[in-house]
């Protein structure tokens, strides 16, 4: 940007810096700090970043819609120099440490810092009595830093840095109670599963730079334009699919979703922040960020949509039978993420991001409320041992209720709008996908209200020693709950009338008049904004996006609302009215229930297919190392060396030393003769000197005599 940026936009790089600083302080000096100090530092730093993010957001919106992009490059990070692209042209690889703020990342940082701040406040109450307080907050701030780097990066590589950072922090935080084996295992699982996805993502990055010659988002569009790639160019498709592999890893989509349920071992605020609100949405963000590529790859888009839809219904079905309150929320998270990917897949990027935001609100709220419930029941997580809590902890109950309604998609709460957007787009794209989404919505409503009823209504099944000290959580936990509740209510309204899409349009926009995927690749980046006719095209595009609310939209809306209420009603019927039915149903369709209850044995399958194979491979490699490498290589070399040394020793002893000894023997013989001169008396030596002197003088006399005569 040549024009001087306003203050906040010029200082976006400070936003990740605050959490990083406090994280450093915590991890190096935290042990010596008092908890209050930790609170001030960490929460304060996150609040500061929130302030800066908000200011940046305002100053961004102040700019004209077409130019809402602020790029701040701090320094050249990896100036790797020139290299050959696939098409043989020379390109100069340059990854700079730069920050890019456009509507997309603006939304993201707002969500991250806002929700993050609330969850920090919540944590000060929730973790108050835990050990390793400073460690927890240090990790949390480190995560904030990484996440902000992720969403603010201006190139793929820097984004990957944040990507790995959040992965590491999630590993550390899942294993926060590292003394519990399940916790540390879960951490490892999450880490390894993420590795798989990250590998794909990294390959994608390589391929991008090899194909397009740049990894800057701002230049991807122009590069695509310059490259004149045909629609569905296989190389582009490959890139898109590789990126999506990464996305599945990070965002827990089939087939890499298995780590998220186990990740619930971590502290509840962590589940709320990382595994519901922010990190798991990184994949969505990434796909949206690179939508220019996806729009050139219809096949990849199809894959994304299908995977998303399947994940959604699949996870929802598993959520129905879970008894662990957090597990239920985990599966619902997975299915909601599936929703988002469905949206991306059908090209409704804005809708995806919209759902991401609202989901961050109500899912974070759900987790926090669940945490509050667990807090109240002093660590009880099994819903079978809950019930009838609505009277005892009212505030938590109401917030939970609001969140449930929101996720269930009851108007006019947040979930309704975003989900409706997605379903609308899906319907427009293919009815099958819409149907899956629709059923999923129903199941969502069902299991969420099941959770609500089992927890708060019916008769109490709480253990007695737990019973009599059930207590409402402290304000530090309740206030964030309420704020999030408010947001879950009103969060969706900003999307009414496509305002959200308008806002995101500069980043993502699709020509709607084209049918399905048959649209010319439109490069949603500044790349075209700088050319005049493209700007005009975008302007008319922006009017075009205002939906003319035709009848089908209303019908769809009604359908989703209807199935939401249907799900709630079914849950009410099964778990409040006829509480004996669920067991009967489970018994009646026994095998299927087991299948679902055991999560379709996917974990076992993976164990059998990959994990054990990996272990076998390790064992085989170990055996190879022991026998072949050590045996043949090392020991063989050792044997050879010893043999050679034996030979050389013989040579040394008999030939080399032999000659030396011969010489010394010779010298000894000489010495034996001459030692008789060696009397050891100094005066003898002096006498010899005198004799020599006399001899010399005599010689000179002899000479003189001859000279004379």
């Amino acid at each position: 940007m040549n024009a001087p940026l306003p203050y906040f936009l010029d200082h976006i790089w400070l936003i990740p810096l605050f959490p990083l600083a406090t994280a450093a302080v915590m991890l190096f000096y935290g042990r010596r700090l008092k908890n209050s100090m930790v609170n001030y530092l960490c929460v304060g730093s996150v609040f500061l970043s929130f302030i800066y993010s908000f200011g940046a957001f305002l100053q961004l919106t102040a700019m004209p819609a077409a130019e809402r992009t602020a790029i701040k490059i701090l320094f050249e990070w990896i100036p790797a120099g020139p290299y050959h692209m696939l098409n043989g042209r020379i390109s100069n690889f340059l990854a700079d440490w730069g920050f890019q703020l456009d509507p997309l990342s603006a939304v993201m940082i707002l969500v991250v810092t806002g929700v993050g701040f609330l969850i920090h406040v919540y944590s000060t109450g929730y973790m108050a009595h835990e050990g390793g307080y400073y460690r927890f907050f240090g990790y949390l701030n480190l995560f904030m830093f990484s996440m902000l780097m992720l969403v603010l990066a201006n190139n793929l590589l820097l984004l990957f840095v944040g990507w790995e950072g959040v992965g590491t922090c999630s590993y550390l935080l899942i294993g926060f109670y590292f003394h519990k084996k399940s916790a540390s295992d879960a951490g490892k699982k999450a880490f390894i599963v993420n590795r798989i996805g990250d590998a794909g993502f990294l390959l994608g990055i390589f391929l991008t730079s090899a194909l397009l010659g740049t990894i800057r988002f701002a230049e991807i569009g122009p590069a695509l334009a310059a490259g004149h790639f045909a629609l569905g160019d296989p190389r582009i498709v490959a890139i898109a699919l590789l990126f999506f592999v990464g996305a599945t890893g990070k965002s827990a989509q089939i087939p890499l979703y298995v780590w998220l349920p186990d990740a619930m071992e971590g502290p509840t605020p962590v589940s709320a922040l990382i595994h519901a609100a922010t990190m798991v949405t990184a994949g969505v963000y990434m796909v949206t960020r690179t939508n220019a590529i996806y729009q050139l790859a219809p096949a990849a888009m199809a894959v994304v949509a299908v995977i998303g839809a399947v994940t959604a219904i699949f996870a929802a079905s598993m959520g129905v039978v879970q008894n662990d309150i957090k597990k239920v929320l985990a599966y619902s998270t997975i299915s909601q993420l599936g929703y988002m990917f469905l949206a991306l897949g059908v090209g409704a990027f804005a809708a995806g991001i919209f759902h991401l935001m609202t989901h961050a609100f109500f899912k974070g709220l759900l987790f926090l409320a669940a945490g509050s419930v667990i807090h109240a029941l002093s660590g009880e997580q099994d819903m079978q041992k809950m019930g009838a809590l609505s009277g005892k902890i009212r505030k938590t109950y109401f917030t939970m209720l609001i969140a449930t309604l929101a996720i269930a998609g009851v108007p006019p709460l947040a979930g309704f709008f975003s989900k409706d957007e997605i379903l609308g787009h899906a319907f427009r794209h293919s009815h099958l996908l819409w149907f899956i989404g629709w059923v999923t919505a129903g199941m969502t409503a069902f299991y969420m209200s099941r959770l609500l009823f089992l927890t708060f209504h019916g008769q109490s099944r709480v253990d007695h020693e737990v019973e009599h000290h059930i207590h409402e959580s402290p304000n530090s936990m309740l206030v964030p709950l309420m704020i999030l509740a408010v947001l879950s209510i009103i969060g969706g309204w900003i999307g009414v009338g496509g305002r959200f899409e308008h806002f995101l349009a500069p980043v993502v926009h699709i020509q709607r008049h084209t049918e399905g995927f048959q649209h010319v690749p439109l490069l949603g980046q500044e790349g075209v904004l700088h050319s005049e006719e493209a700007r005009k095209g975008l302007e008319q595009d922006l009017e075009a996006t205002t939906p003319a609310a035709p009848a089908e939209e209303l019908i769809l809306m009604g359908a989703s609302v209807a199935i939401a209420f249907a799900g709630i009603a079914l849950a009410w019927f099964l778990y409040l009215k006829r509480t004996d039915l669920p067991a009967k149903i489970a018994k009646s369709l026994n095998g299927f229930y087991d299948l679902v209850f055991h999560k379709y044995y996917v974990d076992e399958l993976y164990d059998a297919m990959f994990v054990n194979r990996a272990k076998d491979l390790g064992l085989a490699l170990g055996a190879f190392d022991r026998n072949v490498i050590d045996g043949a290589g090392v020991n063989g070399a050792g044997w050879l060396t010893r043999f050679v040394s034996k030979v050389s020793m013989w040579w040394d002893t008999w030939i080399v030393d032999g000659s030396v000894r011969l010489g010394s023997f010779f010298v000894y013989c000489l010495g034996f003769v001459s030692k008789f001169l060696e009397t050891g008396y100094v005066q003898n030596y002096m006498l010899l000197i005198v004799v020599g002197l006399i001899g010399v003088l005599a010689y000179y006399f002899y000479l003189a005599h001859h000279v004379i005569h």
Binding site: Q683, V690, L697, A698, Y700, A704
Partner: protein, 166 residues
């Protein structure tokens, strides 16, 4: 005339006391006769107009080195060694050879043709000390310094040698 008398007196003193020094059984007496020899030599230096060297000879040799000798002689009590035979088993042949050597040199000095030139007698400058100092500190600066280093080393060496517990 006078200076000749001086020379002969000192020369005779030097030679006789030197002979005594070599032959005395008592080391202290030997040391005393060596002192006498050195003093006589100093006298000869004086007769050779080398006042400074005369003084140096007395201060350094007689007043310094010989004091050290006497000192050590007193430290090592020698009434034991006084009763032993003073000459070693090679005394006769050694003495004879030494005399032969002396005779050879004498011969070389006497009959050797042109062994020593006879330049005219120079007049020494009356300021002998200044002259020596001048030569010592200008032309012989480096040897002078080297000599000082030598003395330092000798001092350290002597201390280390003579210490009770090395």
């Amino acid at each position: 005339m006078f200076s000749q008398a001086v020379f002969y007196f000192f020369a005779a003193l030097a030679v006789t006391s030197a002979i005594l020094m070599v032959t005395r059984r008592n080391i202290i007496h030997g040391a005393v006769f060596l002192i006498t020899t050195l003093l006589a030599t100093a006298g000869i230096f004086l007769q050779l107009d080398a006042e400074f060297l005369f003084v140096v000879q007395i201060i350094l040799y007689v007043g310094g080195i010989m004091v050290l000798f006497v000192f050590v002689i007193m430290l090592v009590n020698l009434d034991v060694s006084m009763r032993l035979v003073q000459f070693n088993h090679q005394r006769f042949v050694a003495g004879a050879l030494a005399l032969v050597l002396g005779a050879q040199v004498f011969l070389a000095l006497k009959v050797g043709p042109g062994v020593m030139p006879h330049p005219a007698q120079q007049i020494m400058s009356p300021k002998n000390t200044e002259a020596v100092g001048d030569a010592l500190f200008t032309h012989y600066m480096l040897p002078f310094e080297i000599a000082s280093i030598l003395l330092l080393v000798a001092m350290i060496g002597a201390v280390v040698m003579a210490k009770r517990r090395v």
